[in-house]
Symmetry: C2
Subunit: 417 residues, 2 copies
């Protein structure tokens, strides 16, 4: 189907979707979850085509794994929808209602955004996740997934539409753009008037393309060049544990630590232990001269280049730099970070407060791992992505990030003097 036709259909049903009651939405989410389980064999069969195409195109093993829909993963998709159903519905809440001197009652009510466009890459479970979060918040969603997962995505969307239809709801609550050409993706980014917001989910290249090309408002979800600064007063055991966790607990994620800043007074005590600890996971350290020297004669630490300070490795590698003060650490972070997650390890009240106040990022930590920047860990019960921009939503985005507000005003004949 043509892109414009898809957008028009989404427009036509959006008011109906926005007006659904919480129980209608929850019932539908449970029905879709059940239908995923009932249709798991056909989902797996569709996925098998994508996997075979992937193998024929010599897709790397890591990507093939992301693409795979096993019975267990389908169960997780279904479970994800049930969890979203269990969350509180933010729609309809009136955030405040105040009486003005002229008697007008002015309140701010939470409403759906309308039509949400999501552009993403290979993982087909995003199709189900994105639907669940958008639908729960009364939004209609148009998905543009990757070419590699097209058969899986089509099967998932069909499955969702069948379940909605059985509930007497319009299947157009979710649409998939099946033409995966770049031209159509760009056209999609210019569908002002049809699509209210665009959320890219994927690597840095995808996000940059959307930010640079879209005329629709975008929520930028982000890459993370996350730092940990070990302050002069840090508990070194705590520092080692947090660094090890933030770097190695999961390496391919945006809240993993990519760069260390270490107070120069700690180098001799900290670096040999750090090197030993990170060697357990074969983490390569790219460091400045002072840190390399502190590693001793047998060190495996390599020299960093200027480029390393700005890199998001997403790999078993970390950059490390010595600094003379918390001020130098903050300045370095504000220069090289991507506005994601930054941590200080310290026992100094003044330096902790300074770091929290002055570091410019979505999440700033004292004495904890950067890996906590996540909608579930923050207690939102869901996550559509992590925003690294400052407008609308910043940091992990739960259901509320998929809502807007409107002012509702109750009068009794007021006119403006």
């Amino acid at each position: 189907m043509e892109l414009l036709e898809i957008c028009k259909q989404a427009q036509e049903v959006k008011q109906q979707i926005a007006a659904l009651s919480t129980s209608q939405k929850n019932d539908a989410l449970f029905a879709v979850a059940d239908h995923f389980m009932a249709q798991r064999e056909s989902l797996i069969a569709a996925n098998a085509i994508d996997l075979e195409n992937g193998r024929n195109n010599r897709m790397p093993e890591g990507l093939l794994d992301r693409l795979l829909l096993s019975e267990e993963r389908i169960m997780q998709m279904a479970e994800g929808l049930r969890q979203v159903a269990a969350l509180e519905d933010p729609i309809g809440e009136v955030l405040s209602m105040k009486r003005r001197p002229n008697g007008l009652m002015i309140g701010q009510k939470r409403v759906p955004l309308g039509v949400i466009g999501i552009i993403y890459e290979s993982r087909p479970n995003v199709t189900a996740d994105a639907f669940g979060l958008c639908f729960k918040t009364g939004n209609t969603v148009i998905l543009r997934g990757g070419r590699d997962a097209i058969h899986s995505n089509q099967a998932i969307v069909s499955c969702i539409r069948e379940a909605l239809d059985a509930q007497g709801l319009p299947g157009e609550a979710i649409s998939l753009i099946t033409d995966t050409s770049h031209e159509t993706a760009r056209e999609f980014m210019h569908m002002n008037g049809y699509v209210d917001v665009l959320i890219p989910r994927g690597g840095a290249g995808l996000i940059r393309t959307v930010v640079e090309n879209a005329t629709i408002p975008v929520i930028e979800t982000g890459t993370g060049n996350c730092h940990i600064y070990v302050d002069e007063s840090a508990d070194l055991d705590m520092a080692l544990a947090i660094i090890f966790n933030a770097k190695t607990q999961r390496i391919g994620v945006c809240n993993a630590c990519e760069s260390l800043l270490i107070h120069e007074s700690l180098l001799e005590r900290l670096i040999p232990a750090l090197e030993g600890r990170l060697r357990e996971k074969n983490v390569e350290i790219c460091a400045d001269e002072a840190i390399r020297k502190a590693g001793g004669d047998q060190t495996t630490i390599v020299f960093a280049t200027e480029e390393d300070w700005g890199r998001e490795y997403l790999d078993y590698r970390i950059s490390a730099k010595s600094v003379a003060s918390v001020e130098e650490a903050i300045a370095h972070i504000n220069r090289y970070n991507t506005g994601h997650s930054e941590a200080i390890i310290t026992d100094s009240y003044a330096n902790a407060e300074k770091f929290l106040n002055e570091v410019d990022a979505a999440a700033v930590y004292v004495n904890a791992s950067t890996r906590f920047t996540d909608g579930f860990e923050f207690g939102f019960g869901a996550e559509i992505g992590i925003s690294t921009q400052k407008l609308h939503a910043r940091g992990p985005m739960g259901l509320e990030a998929l809502t807007s507000t409107k002012y509702i005003i109750y009068g009794n004949g007021q006119i403006r003097p």
Copy 2:
């Protein structure tokens, strides 16, 4: 100065501006206000050059009036800054702080956006207003005003910088792009990494250009094709008073009423009275056949074309259409409106609630004039514009719309399992 240099300077001072205490900011706002008054003669002299150029370029009287800086207007600019100083400072407020099961304390703190770009047209008082609101919220501002007001804007910005300098604060808290070419404006719209958000203030053409070209996040402030629907159960005197107010109290503004929807059962009783009332201000009514007929033999009502339903006249003209139901009125509004302000006049509880729920706009009224959509009327004490988009801010934007948040997390060694 080159655009890039201006942006770099703004980046350099933004942390210092963001860190100012409320009293430092308020003192500076008062100092700028005093300095405006002290320098009023040089401001008026600079403005005279713009006025003379305007006259030589045959600028229409209305625009010349918008451009004029009289002693009274300078006093108003100064008073505006003092009023902003008196408002509560939203920066630093922690919106919530909750303890997670693992002991992490996670709070959301209100912070400045950073560097705000404002692109606007001829009125020089916007220069002072925008500075006041951005500065109060700890933001650094880069202004790109219209060519017609360049001498006035330069004088105002110099005046602000002198006053900041006398307070020991960096003048770069405000910058003016003096190269008013379209090329530089477009370059400005692509200053990602230097400018955090762009706010266009002006006519529909300017706003469209910014929305279509900017890669920086934009807050779209908007045009208003505002409707009033007179429901079957309306008090007709109230309807007449509200329509007269919303159309004629001030015609050139975005919250003025541009289109009427009238329940068909009311035509004979309402239209002759409406025609008489609007004739007091020589308002032309462009209507469908049923309404024109209800005007009688001597009516001056003209026929509307399809185009009229979508027009923002900003003039002594209004479109009018008869509808058979509240549903038809809502459907018409959702098709033709610009998402600004819409009103129903009714005595029906069910129709009032239906209208409030289903009309898609920033502000939806029952029994009141659309002219109230305004930051001051809403009690915000200030207004940077009225957002017609759904992201970040919707409706009148006060100081909070110029802020973002960041998560601050207090731990004691937590790592992610």
